[in-house]
Amino acid sequence: MELLFTDDQLAFQESVRGFLQKECEPERLRKLWETESGRSPEFWAKLAEMGILGMTAPEEHGGLGMNEVDLVLVLEEIGRAALAAPVAETVAVGVPLLAACGSPALQAEWIPKVVAGEAALSFGHADTPFVHDAHVADLLLLHAGGRTDSDIAVHAVPRGDVTLVHEPGNDPAGRLYRVEWQPSPETRIATGAVAGTALALAFDRAALAAAAQLVGIAQQLVDLAAHYATQREQFGRPIGSFQAIKHMLASVQVRVEFARPVLYRAAWTVAEDTAERMVAVSHAKAAAAEAAILAARTALQVHGAIGYTWEVDLHIWMKRAWALDVAWGTRLWHRARIGRAVLDDSAAPSFGYSARA
């Protein structure tokens, strides 16, 4: 029993943090908002160079063959940096789904391109109306049919074969699309129970990736507000010396800190695909979203009127928090899923406390 990352995992997190701090300066992020795609191909190539795009790809396709425990800290940094690129869609969800369902030929065609930074993926699930970053995804992995084994399927559809309807959203860096498409036997890569299992796992991977980013965003919002509160003076002293400010921010830090171990445990249950996976992922998503939404609200209040402006960078993270909060299951949706497991079924086990002797 050990709930701890290895020195290698922590060192990689450090180097990703340094890299993203340099590459994702707010001024650069704002310039991307003004571009049509909102994405930078040069930056995508740099992510490949860093090894981030190949993290979950099997080694036979040139990847690093890593799992969610390796990836979760990187996703946290991506949230902290408010990175505008489909890393979660491609690395956390797309590649594992393609590796689970795609034919050897399809995998050999696409995964090496992803590792090299020459292709991006995205994922559409029937439980969520939009596909993130579909406009830059070269291959879309889509849920077709209903929820039952008889008609459920996974399709891999090249972007050229779908129609995208852009749905502008509140996050200036976000790119949401409704995807119109026709399933065909040529694009179908899994059916029946295999498809059902893979789609449920892919949904949980997407929720886990959102949770990881939300924890990073929450910490960034607390840090921004704490920094502002040490600089801004009123009544002749920094506003951060007032308990009204201290106590608000301390309360947020409590929620952020206790979302972390829940997130890390969820990453482990996905990596190991244990029986507790769904409850653990829902817990992580609900706890991380709660921390991030509280952080956004509090950081805005600490900033006061200046935080309400377009000019100050705070809204970069606030809007990402609001967007991820409602992506891949709201807090209520995830708590309801936990409720079914804990209150209706034969009681989901408690960590440690329910261990069998």
Binding site: E2, S241, A250, S251, P261, V262, H283, R335, L343, G352
Partner: protein, 386 residues
């Protein structure tokens, strides 16, 4: 990261479970804040010690098993699952014990730790004074060095368990010229020493769980000092870290309450207000989060890390969780929630009311949650002092 228990850890769990199943009293003991209940709880501590289960993480020389912190968590899980009695000597074993290990001389450790583990000496805590609560550095009770003795004068208050305890660990001002955190010294005092007067204070539930303690020219030998003269604040902060952080509030306590809340919800589900369902789920989630965070902290400690101001995050989280769980339970019980255990229709529900009153003390003792928020803001987030 490996979130499975090793075969050795499983074996330890089996051994603890087996012993507890055979020894935990079938009926709950009377309240430890009555003379009869205190004696019964002390007897239970002796039983635990006879089985070498009193302080599993302590070295064998002091009555422990020398197990690691993961195994300590496993023991706690089994202890709460078994419904074993509360630890009457928690001030000693969880607070003073670890502090003695860090700051005590070999003679002090040998003198106090085995008797503490065996329940022969039950300890109370004497820090707060009428004018030194959250502002603990305002302590005025004095200790004057007189040859090989200290002479103690002054008053301590809110001393948990002091009504029936044998010893009390206190902080006194040894340098009369000193201000605030300087000039304080940590001293161990037998409660039967001449000049010590204990006056019980009835708590919210009417029982005398804490007391005022008066010192009138009380003489204690110099070897009762823990740490250096004038170093009392530093020693006390180490103790406070144990109180807020790891030892005193093992996660199983909250998971067992959450499990009882889930069971209560299932019993009441048909007539319960649907809004309470989400409150129960949140309680369960937070109890799990607290547990996972403790496993994370323990993993870090075992690989050479340390715990500092993070203990303040812990203290806020568990104390708010405990209040939330009991409030939710009382809401589920509706009008029956107000019944005392001996009311004809109380059945088994009185425990929730007791627990609720106790949970309300959580945000106050061990440093109020407002003090903890100051610590978090200043030491973890870098905000300026007032």
């Amino acid at each position: 990261m490996d979130l499975t228990f090793t075969p050795e850890e499983d074996a330890f769990r089996r051994e603890a479970r087996g012993w507890l199943e055979a020894h935990v009293p079938a009926k709950p003991l009377p309240s430890m804040d009555t003379a009869e209940g205190f004696a019964a709880h002390r007897a239970w501590e002796r039983t635990l010690n006879d089985g070498r289960w009193a302080m599993v993480s302590w070295p064998e020389a002091y009555g422990g098993r020398g197990v690691n912190l993961i195994e300590w968590l496993i023991f706690e899980e089994e202890y709460f699952r078994a419904g074993a009695p509360g630890r009457v000597n928690q001030n000693g074993i969880f607070l003073l014990g670890p502090t003695l290990m860090d700051y005590g001389t070999d003679a002090q450790k040998a003198r106090h730790l085995p008797r503490m583990a065996a329940g022969e000496d039950v300890w109370a805590q004497g820090w707060s004074e009428p004018n030194a609560g959250s502002d603990m550095a305002a302590i005025r009770a004095t200790a004057r060095l007189d040859g090989d003795h200290y002479v103690l004068n002054g008053q301590k208050t809110w001393c948990s368990r002091a009504v029936f305890a044998d010893w009390i660990f206190c902080i006194f001002r040894t340098d009369p010229e000193s201000q605030r955190h300087r000039g304080l010294t940590f001293i161990l005092v037998p409660l039967d020493a001449e000049g010590v007067k204990v006056r019980p204070i009835a708590q919210l539930d009417g029982e005398t769980g804490f007391a005022e303690v008066f010192f009138d020219d009380v003489h204690v030998p110099v070897e009762n000092r823990l740490g250096d003269e004038g170093a009392g604040w530093r020693v006390a902060m180490a103790t406070a870290g144990f109180e807020r952080g790891l030892m005193l509030r093992s996660p199983a306590r909250f998971q067992s309450t959450a499990a009882r809340l889930v069971a209560l919800y299932k019993d009441e589900a048909e007539q319960a207000d649907p809004a309470l369902r989400d409150a129960v789920v949140r309680a369960w989630m937070d109890a799990e989060a607290y547990c996972l965070n403790t496993y994370r902290t323990v993993s870090r400690l075992m690989s050479g890390g340390s715990i500092g101001a993070e203990a303040s995050l812990n203290k806020i989280f568990w104390s708010e969780l405990d209040v939330h769980m009991h409030e939710t339970a009382l809401s589920l019980l509706e009008a029956r929630g107000q019944l005392l255990p001996h009311a004809p229709d109380a059945g088994n529900v009185g425990r929730w009311l007791d627990g609720y009153l106790f949970s309300l003390a959580g945000p106050i003792y061990a440093g109020t949650n407002e003090i903890q928020r100051n610590v978090i803001a200043e030491r973890l987030l870098g905000l300026p002092k007032a």
